[in-house]
């Protein structure tokens, strides 16, 4: 019983970490699908989300719901502004230039946070006040329940939005063929802005969940989950939204199980090893579609 129980608990740990990776990975994958660029500043949006929540709820003492909504809005607006300032002028530039700009943006966000909030970690109590539940010998903490719940809701809502609404259809059209979409009367600029807004909004949600779990604010807190989520997006097939969700959760579970049953030190190596194997066997990722580059 004990072994089964412990495996189940490790699976839940993996599911919780994986949910956060998945929420972040969606942002990477959506932006890649539409703007054909890797937005390396995306991880730092999580950090901005965590600090924004701290400012709204802890410093300005706003009610929790207002603070959460404002946090998501702040990150969405930040996402749009980043795109307008840093990426839009480079839309026809070589992809290397865009990549380096994204890395520069990431450093900018981190260092602005460092300037404002200083390097000393700030303790910030979890905003999640849900008590855990006990299922037999399994214990699910409040944070876990909320994390899983919010992730499922966000994923269902996003899937419905992309598949059932006009704006969602416009997004898919732009990602398929930007030129043709423009000729069909779709505003490419508005669609790209919307994509950045949604991706950054989800990153804000991930930031809120992340900070509820770890309770320590640091200017670099977004870097590692950002990289892991990027790996998750590639694993699932970059450009594919279900792929990002799936990739994130798989990554979280592999990480948790290898830490628990193989080695704490090797867990990252195993995660990246799985990525290498998947890419060797299926270069477009688990759920990605292989596209033939037209010359």
């Amino acid at each position: 019983m004990s072994l089964l129980n412990s495996i189940l608990e490790q699976l839940i740990n993996g599911l919780r970490t994986g949910s956060i990776y998945a929420l972040i990975a969606i942002g990477y994958t959506m932006v890649y699908g539409i703007a054909k660029m890797i937005n390396f500043a995306h991880g730092d949006i999580i950090m901005v989300g965590a600090y924004a929540l701290y400012v709204y709820s802890s410093i300005l003492k706003l009610p929790l719901v207002a603070a959460i909504i404002l946090t998501v809005v702040t990150c969405s607006v930040l996402g749009i502004i980043t795109e307008k300032i840093a990426y839009k002028p480079l839309r026809n530039a070589p992809s290397l230039a865009v990549l380096i700009t994204a890395i520069g943006m990431s450093f900018l966000l981190q260092n602005v946070a460092l300037l404002i909030f200083k390097a000393t970690p700030i303790p910030f109590a979890s905003v999640v006040n849900v008590s855990g539940i006990r299922l037999g010998s399994l214990y699910l903490s409040g944070t876990t329940l909320v994390t899983l719940g919010v992730t499922v809701i966000a994923m269902v809502a996003l899937t419905l939005f992309v598949n059932k609404t006009k704006a969602g259809r416009a997004m898919r059209a732009v990602s398929e063929d930007r030129g043709a979409a423009e000729l069909m009367g779709i505003s490419v600029n508005a669609t790209i802005s919307l994509t950045f807004a949604i991706g950054s909004g989800l990153a804000a949600v991930a930031g809120i969940l992340y900070i509820s779990q770890y309770e320590t604010l640091m200017p670099t807190l977004g870097a590692l989950p950002g990289i892991k989520a990027f790996v998750a997006a590639v694993l699932g097939g970059i450009g594919s939204i279900p792929g990002a969700m799936f990739g994130g959760i798989i990554l979280g579970i592999i990480e948790s199980l290898s830490k628990a049953y193989i080695s704490t030190q090797l867990s990252d190596a195993i995660v990246y090893g799985v990525l290498v194997v998947v890419l060797l066997v299926k270069p477009s990722g688990l759920l990605g579609k292989l596209k033939i580059e037209k010359v």
Partner: protein, 409 residues
């Protein structure tokens, strides 16, 4: 071969020139610090007037060298050591200095940055010797301290490291240490857990990328086994990790009665919070790295009841500690940590050795080291063994009602 030899000679010569140049450069950079200015200017006068002053029974200056990282990722350690030593020196000088025979010495500190690296430590030590230091209070980190022990032993100078906790730091007869060694701390915590707290099944979470954490954990596990207890889980992590759910889940599946975490306070913050999230109610014990944890936890209840070994705790209500903390905060607007307290005690140890020896020669000071008793911040009645290890009571701090408190013996 001959050519190579020639090349080596010129390379060494070039290095020497460069190092002496950089030595001068850094000296000039640092002349803004008041203590160092005085150390340098008076240094010459000590040399020239020594005979005169000792015979006339007037005052003279005693120059103490210090090394430690003032820049780089470990800068906080060296800064604390330098500042803690400065507080002690100021106190001693304000109280009239150190009387040895007919002469009253005022103390001065010359501190060189070693960036916690071996090669910089050797450079820093050579620079200090050129300035004419009479004893060395350093290094601050274990690796850098070990790098200069050969040189100090050769020069026969008294070396007291405030915080080099690796056993090799005091391998020669001229070297002494103020802090506990890592294995000592692990052993002491194991004894405490079994003998005083009565636990027999323990779990350990340690950072295996840190010599400090791994060193304590290893000694702890050995001692627990020797005491007839059982280590039911030994989980490791890597410096910078934030997620400990996996390790905690594994411990949860065992029948551990207590969790031992030999780590720094930021790691402890994550571990204790995640344990409480998982509904774990096991008590925690820890190492001196726990000092500072109350400032980083969001809810003190997560560490309530935890007990850790600590040579020094700034928040403890002890008159000597309070006076030191006040002086330190007034001078540097920062709370002193154990590194500052170790350095403070190191300076008082040097003072005691001077008084006991009745001399300022290192040879006499080293001989006097085993005869002195120092009442310091990090321990009452500290004595030193000929091997260089301090003999002091290890203190335990308990977190009670969200406050640090020494455990009543």
């Amino acid at each position: 071969m001959k050519k190579f030899g020639k090349f080596m000679v010129s390379a060494v010569a070039a290095t020497l020139v460069v190092s002496s140049l950089t030595g001068c450069g850094s000296k000039e950079d640092e002349t803004e610090a008041p203590t160092e200015t005085s150390a340098e200017t008076d240094d010459a006068s000590v040399e020239t007037n020594e005979e005169e002053t000792t015979t006339s029974g007037e005052t003279a200056e005693f120059l103490i060298g210090g090394t430690g990282p003032l820049t780089g990722p470990n800068a906080s350690y060296g800064t604390s050591v330098k500042q803690g030593a400065e507080i002690a020196i100021q106190e001693i000088n304000n109280a009239g200095g150190v009387t040895v025979g007919d002469t009253t010495y005022t103390l001065a500190l010359a501190f060189e940055d070693d960036e916690a690296t071996e090669d910089k430590a050797i450079q820093a030590y050579n620079t200090l010797m050129d300035q004419g230091i009479q004893v060395l209070m350093g290094g601050t980190t274990s690796g850098a301290t070990i790098a200069i022990t050969d040189l100090t032993a050769e020069d026969g100078i008294l070396q007291i490291t405030p915080s080099g906790s690796a056993p090799e730091c005091i391998q020669y007869d001229n070297a002494f240490r103020i802090c506990f060694s890592d294995p000592e701390q692990g052993t002491a915590m194991a004894d405490y857990a079994v003998d005083v707290l009565g636990y027999t099944k323990v779990a350990v979470i340690y950072d295996n990328a840190s010599d400090y954490s791994a060193g304590i954990a290893e000694a702890f596990e050995e001692e627990i086994a020797a005491k007839g207890g059982e280590v039911v889980a030994s989980e490791s992590f890597t410096t910078g990790d934030t997620d400990f759910n996996t390790q905690l889940t594994k411990i949860k599946g065992t029948d551990a009665e207590v969790i031992f975490i030999p780590a720094y306070y930021q790691d402890v913050t994550y571990i204790t919070k995640q344990a409480s999230d998982m509904g774990m109610e096991l008590p925690f014990i820890g190492s001196d790295g726990w000092d500072g944890v109350l400032a980083t936890v969001s809810d003190p209840a997560t560490v309530e009841g935890a007990i850790f070994a600590s040579p020094f705790c700034a928040a403890v209500d002890d008159p000597n500690v309070v006076a030191f903390v006040e002086a330190y905060e007034a001078a540097y607007s920062a709370t002193p940590d154990q590194f500052a307290a170790d350095a403070y005690d190191a300076i008082y140890t040097i003072k005691a050795a001077m008084e006991q020896a009745g001399s300022t020669e290192s040879e006499d000071l080293i001989a006097a080291m085993t005869e002195i008793t120092v009442n310091g911040l990090t321990g009452e009645s500290i004595t030193f063994s000929a091997e260089g290890a301090p003999n002091k009571e290890i203190k335990y701090v308990e977190i009670k009602d969200g406050q640090y408190q020494y455990v009543e013996e």
